[in-house]
């Protein structure tokens, strides 16, 4: 009465697969179907089939196009800064070797802090009038007046300001992953390059970075996906303002649904957002990450 291995494996996977089907796949199906309807925000209200109308409204809406570009800019900014800072720290830890271990632990703790707390904290640091950041910069002589930069009130720079908590929270993640990768670069390779007279910059760009490529690719893809979904930190800092200057895709969809009570339009935006994420992630995974190709 022994069931075949293949079926046994299937039985083991079924509960998890069912869970994901019911609570991820089905809601996604609902999202896509809802996007073709005009839905009243009242529960049990009318639903009228409107075809592609919601999609047309999304693509012709300035808010949607703007949020798309902002999400892209935000993601690029967050990932670039995190990568640069994280790599710097990882190299620092590596060159300092074993003794830096305690310090590495200290560097980890922001990872455990809730994004909502990080957002709140940085809002408090950057807020006009009594924010500490402006004061410190002016005391250091960098700014003439503590309120010279309206971190969260100037639409031109607010997208950068709301990215700061995200960068603060997850640079250590980037550092950790890159550090793990650096541990696996064979020492004799570096030695050989040193003996050949390679200086630090060429060592970094010609040897270390190419060898780290797979690790870098994974870290960038994973962080990119996360940054593109940013919500908590921005909501608590600016709620998308001023004048929508920090309204990213997640925020716009949330507000379209909750504030403006338009589930149909929100669903269409959500569907486009999801498809774009999947497409970009697919391209990134196959071209940058290339799983299994050259590890």
């Amino acid at each position: 009465m022994r069931i075949p291995d293949r079926r046994f494996a299937l039985y083991l996977m079924t509960p998890a697969a069912l869970f994901l089907a019911v609570f991820v796949a089905y809601p996604l199906f609902r999202l896509v179907t809802d996007s073709f309807f005009k839905i009243s925000p009242i529960v049990g209200g009318p639903r009228d089939f409107v075809g592609l109308d919601n999609y047309i409204r999304a693509f012709t809406s300035e808010a949607f196009i703007g949020a798309g570009w902002r999400t892209l800019a935000y993601t690029l900014m967050v990932v670039t800064l995190e990568f640069t800072l994280g790599l710097g720290m990882a190299l620092l830890f590596t060159t300092l070797g074993r003794k830096s271990q305690v310090w590495r632990t200290m560097f980890l703790y922001p990872l455990m802090i809730a994004p909502i707390v990080a957002g709140l904290l940085w809002k408090f640091l950057m807020i006009d009038n009594f924010g500490l950041l402006g004061t410190l910069l002016s005391q250091a002589g960098i700014l003439k007046d503590p309120n010279q930069i309206g971190w969260l009130s100037n639409p031109d720079i607010v997208l950068f300001s709301v990215a700061v908590p995200d960068i603060w929270l997850t640079t250590s993640f980037m550092c950790l992953v890159l550090f793990a990768g650096l541990q696996n670069i064979p020492g004799d390779l570096i030695e050989a390059a040193r003996l050949d007279g390679a200086r630090a910059p060429s060592l970094l760009f010609r040897i270390i970075l190419p060898l780290l490529r797979p690790v870098i690719a994974v870290a960038l893809v994973v962080r990119g996906i996360d940054a593109a979904r940013a919500f908590d930190t921005i909501l608590i800092q600016t709620n998308g303002g001023p004048q929508s200057a920090s309204e990213t895709m997640s925020l716009l969809i949330y507000r379209t649904m909750i504030r403006f009570g338009d589930p149909g339009l929100a669903s269409a935006m959500g569907t486009i957002y999801l498809l774009a994420m999947l497409a970009i992630a697919f391209v990134a995974v196959t071209t940058i990450w290339r799983p299994g190709k050259d590890t």
């Binding site: 996977m13 869970f19 609570f23 632990t105 200290m106 922001p110 797979p214 870290a219 569907t271 799983p291």
Partner: protein, 307 residues
């Protein structure tokens, strides 16, 4: 379809498969370490400066939570409180709904961690032990799940929960959180199972154990460390999550992150209480991190690679 070991660059799986983030040192260590004493001193100073800068924001949050209301919004702001007070803590924790929100947060995180483990452990075992085509499809599907923006499924999920009478309950929110932690748990557990030699359970089956018996009595004890890592990550994901909590909870099941966010609107800008509550909410997980840092590093590195 690439095999799993190939999906993850071999380089990064190493520290985690060794169990506790211990790394193979030896040759590589001499390679990148700085040689000259003076260079090393400069690098240490640089590191110390970076860490002070990095740690400062959270210290400032702690200091602020001990300030008096006037101190909190003083212009120009001071770093240390002029006068230390516990009023903010008393205020924040005594506020209506705050103690209940802590209980909700704990409840939700515990339920979603258990749910995630119960589903992920057998699934990951099935995927790793029997390399079937369906297993490979399933693990890729779990990876795709990670790319789904929570806002896209949050709204339909909330209305689904409402239609089965689960609106505003910790159960509904736990299920939502499990949609996030389950895929990651499957990836993490798969790598831990990967490291278990197959002859272990083969020996057990020869001795008369059933396959389930071998899994339960032989394999599970071996991967218990991995299960602990996976549990920590599932717990943290739920503890810190905000968007689902915002969409799916109202009065009864609100978690603390939502309460922290609501402070802004409901009570004007009471920075003192907000920072106190934020500190209280962060301290348990910071302690957890310090206690279990090696396990967390292992999971983090693996999590990055896998999901």
């Amino acid at each position: 379809m690439p095999s799993r070991t190939a999906t993850a660059p071999q380089t990064t799986t190493e520290p985690a498969s060794a169990g506790g983030g211990r790394r193979r040192g030896g040759v590589n260590r001499e390679g990148l370490e700085a040689g000259k004493r003076s260079t090393r001193t400069i690098l240490w100073i640089l590191l110390a400066a970076a860490l002070v800068l990095y740690g400062f924001p959270f210290l400032y949050l702690l200091f602020t939570s001990f300030k008096t209301p006037i101190d909190t919004i003083a212009v120009p702001p001071t770093i240390l409180p002029k006068e230390w007070t516990l009023d903010n803590y008393i205020n924040a924790l005594g506020r209506n709904g705050v103690p209940a929100s802590f209980i909700n947060s704990i409840q939700t995180a515990v339920i979603s961690t258990l749910l995630s483990l119960v589903l992920a452990v057998p699934a990951a075992y099935g995927i790793t032990r029997y390399k079937t085509a369906s297993g490979r499809v399933f693990i890729m599907a779990a990876l795709v799940t990670r790319m789904v923006p929570p806002v896209a499924i949050g709204i339909p999920l909330a209305s689904m929960m409402a239609s089965v009478g689960l609106a505003d309950t910790p159960i509904a929110l736990s299920i939502a959180h499990t949609t996030i932690s389950l895929p990651l748990s499957i990836w993490l557990m798969s790598s831990f199972f990967e490291a278990v030699p197959q002859d272990l359970e083969e020996a057990a089956t020869v001795d008369g154990c059933s396959r389930l018996g071998a899994l339960w009595r032989v394999v599970i004890p071996v991967v218990s460390g991995g299960i602990a890592v996976t549990a920590i990550f599932a717990f943290l994901a739920s503890w810190n999550e905000f968007l689902f909590a915002l969409l799916m909870t109202a009065v009864r099941s609100q978690t603390t992150p939502v309460v922290i966010a609501n402070f802004q609107t409901q009570f004007g800008l009471d920075w003192g209480s907000m920072t106190a509550l934020a500190a209280v909410y962060s301290i348990p997980v910071i302690l957890l991190t310090l206690l279990l840092q090696r396990k967390i590093v292992a999971g983090m590195t693996l999590g990055a690679v896998k999901g």
